[in-house]
């Protein structure tokens, strides 16, 4: 465990990691010195303390801490789940008109043997990879590729599973020149009309229209420590408080965590992450996600093309609480 300590620690994770470090050392000591009973009981005591400390820290995470976890450099990204949950994956590239966008990937694969279409924003681990993948911020060609692949899925009656993990669509000159707004807009409409089941899952960051562009789904899932909102907390703070460093305050106001979204009725299911966050145990987190995907796919698969579109329409039609004066409820005037 100590060898793999290229681990990045968030401030609130540090006490736990320090304690765990102690435990590792103690165990190694016990292994080399021979297992004295005194050491054994000390190890057990320390293990208990680790568990308790983790529970304490994670029982009361602030919204900002959830945002930090969603961006944890060791957090599993789209391809990490693809690798763990699917077989036979073949990545399909390009939008057929301009380029291939490595920030939004797609391809065919099997889930429990059944062919599905996968989409997802992809972040990079290293600086070099992050530049290639634009920190998971897609350009128009990314959304046009996603659209092309969704149409492919529709033609061959394959369900779509989309992994959302982006701070937002890329805000740059080239993206604007090639119609970022149009690319997202078309995705939204076409996705709404898709005749195959669509499940979207926010695995990290769900930033604005750039996230929603692959989120017009029949079922929306969110990992426990992910967020989804109209704007990133920093950008929100920059506008509201004219200070991007007040992201913590903005995160509270936006109520952007998975739990908030669930309580607000936006999300169909929250998926538990491994204790301490997905990065602490990607396998376990992927297993939980797999179980959720399996259940929702089973529910959606029997619905025919028409019902699938209806189901999706009903899901979004009811979002957005408004009050209305009684007089509007009367049948509209004759024309």
């Amino acid at each position: 465990m100590k060898g793999s300590m290229a681990t990045y620690a968030l401030d609130f994770e540090k006490p736990l990691l320090e304690l765990e470090q102690k435990l590792v050392e103690l165990k190694r000591h016990a292994a080399t010195e021979g297992g004295a009973d005194a050491l054994d009981s000390e190890i057990r005591r320390l293990e208990k303390r680790c568990t308790r400390l983790q529970q304490e820290i994670f029982a009361e995470l602030s919204r900002w801490q959830v945002v930090q976890l969603s961006r944890h450099p060791n957090r599993p990204y789209t391809l990490d789940y693809v690798q763990r949950l699917f077989t036979d994956f073949i990545e399909l590239h390009g939008d057929r008109s301009f380029a291939d966008d490595a920030a939004l990937i797609g391809g065919l694969a099997r889930f429990d043997g059944e062919p599905v279409l996968l989409l997802g924003q992809q972040k990079g681990r290293s600086t070099k990879e992050n530049i290639l993948r634009s920190f998971g911020m897609p350009r128009p060609e990314g959304y046009r590729k996603a659209l092309r692949l969704m149409k492919l899925a529709e033609r061959f009656d394959r369900p779509v599973i989309a992994f959302i993990d982006t701070p937002g669509a890329y805000p740059g000159i080239d993206a604007e020149e090639r119609g970022q707004a149009e690319a997202i807009a078309v995705c939204l409409e076409e996705m709404a009309a898709l005749t195959v089941p669509v499940i979207s899952v926010v695995i990290g960051e769900g930033g604005s229209g750039g996230a929603l562009a692959i989120g017009v789904c029949n079922r929306l899932l969110m990992l426990q420590y992910s967020w989804y909102s109209v704007i990133s907390p920093e950008s929100c703070a920059a506008i509201l408080y004219r200070d991007a460093s007040k992201g913590e305050r903005a995160a509270e106001a936006l109520k952007l965590t998975a739990r908030d979204a669930y309580q607000l009725g936006i999300v169909d299911q929250l998926v538990d992450e491994a204790p301490g966050g997905a990065h602490r145990d990607p396998d376990l987190t992927a297993k939980n996600l797999g179980a959720a995907l399996r259940q929702h796919l089973r529910e959606l698969r029997p619905l025919g093309p028409k019902s699938i579109v209806e189901d999706r329409y009903a899901k979004f039609r009811k979002l957005g609480p408004v009050t209305e004066p009684a007089r509007n409820a009367a049948p509209s005037a004759r024309d």
Binding site: P171, E176, V322
Partner: protein
């Protein structure tokens, strides 16, 4: 004494900075000329010297394109329930009240049924002076109903967009309005009637990235700022000054993103023409 007096620095929010509507004279931001306010008003809030298009209040916008007396407003009095109890330096509810007072409108969008050259259309337009024309649940609901009414009556639809995007104060619900309205539009396509989207200054963010760019035909007024990310955000990202004319209507036309630029004077005529050709 000068034959005109300089208007004191505007106390208006920055969105309104374009024209200083106090006193008899205003200075045009386009050409810098001092112009007689009554001339501008007569000229549909367009500078008579340089054709700079100033903001037009939503009611005048609808009057401008519709047959006189044909507008029947729908969905009046819809209000946000403030599901997040949002508060920054001020409570969202208070901001709404202040905007209602300053704009004279209940929300950032007015919608209904009207006629253009005798042809019935389901239409709506943004009031930019209401919280920057931002889209929360009320605007999203009204836009959705425009497409639903158009579907029901099998008539064309038109939306005039002037918006900074989705409204932060309703966070995730504002975002979901983009999906909701897009889904309603997707259904409307089945009746095979045109949806014409008119982009005004400015059309950005979540409004640009949904129904504003889903038009069968997309028109824009001259020099309107149109894009996904706002210029300030892009400058911060790339740490460079943006080129002159970037994200303006003419730039978008050149890049193949809109069908045509239409002068305000000709808007009604062009819409009537398009409806005639498509509806």
């Amino acid at each position: 004494m000068a034959w005109y007096h300089r208007v004191p620095a505007p106390k208006l929010p920055s969105e309104q900075r374009k024209s200083r509507m106090e006193g008899l004279w205003i200075r045009c931001d386009g050409c810098g000329e001092i112009i007689y306010k009554a001339d501008v008003e007569k000229n549909l809030e367009v500078c008579p010297k340089c054709d700079e298009h100033f903001p037009l209040p939503v009611r005048r916008r609808l009057e401008l394109v519709l047959d006189p007396g044909s507008f029947e407003e729908h969905d009046i009095g819809l209000e946000s329930t403030d599901p997040l109890q949002f508060a920054d330096s001020r409570k969202y509810k208070e901001r709404l009240k202040a905007s209602q007072k300053s704009s004279g409108e209940g929300e950032a969008f007015v919608s209904g049924i009207g006629r253009i050259a005798g042809r019935e259309v389901s239409l709506g337009a943004f009031e930019f002076n209401f919280m920057g024309g931002s889209m929360g649940s009320v605007v999203g609901e009204k836009v959705t109903r425009i497409f639903e009414r158009a579907t029901e009556r099998r008539i064309p639809s038109i939306i005039f967009s002037a918006s900074g995007g989705a409204r932060m104060q309703e966070a995730i619900f504002s975002l979901m309005q983009m999906a909701k309205s897009s889904a309603a539009l997707a259904r409307f396509r089945a009746v095979k009637k045109p949806y014409i989207s008119v982009l005004l200054d400015p059309t950005t963010g979540g409004v640009a990235a949904s129904f504003a760019f889903q038009g069968d035909v997309i028109l824009a007024e001259p020099k309107a700022l149109i894009g996904f990310a706002g210029p300030r955000v892009i400058e911060q990202t790339i740490r460079q000054k943006l080129p002159e004319g970037f994200q303006r209507s003419e730039f978008l036309l050149e890049h193949g993103m809109i069908d045509a630029i239409v002068h305000r004077k000709e808007m009604r005529e062009r819409l009537a023409q398009l409806l005639g050709l498509l509806a």
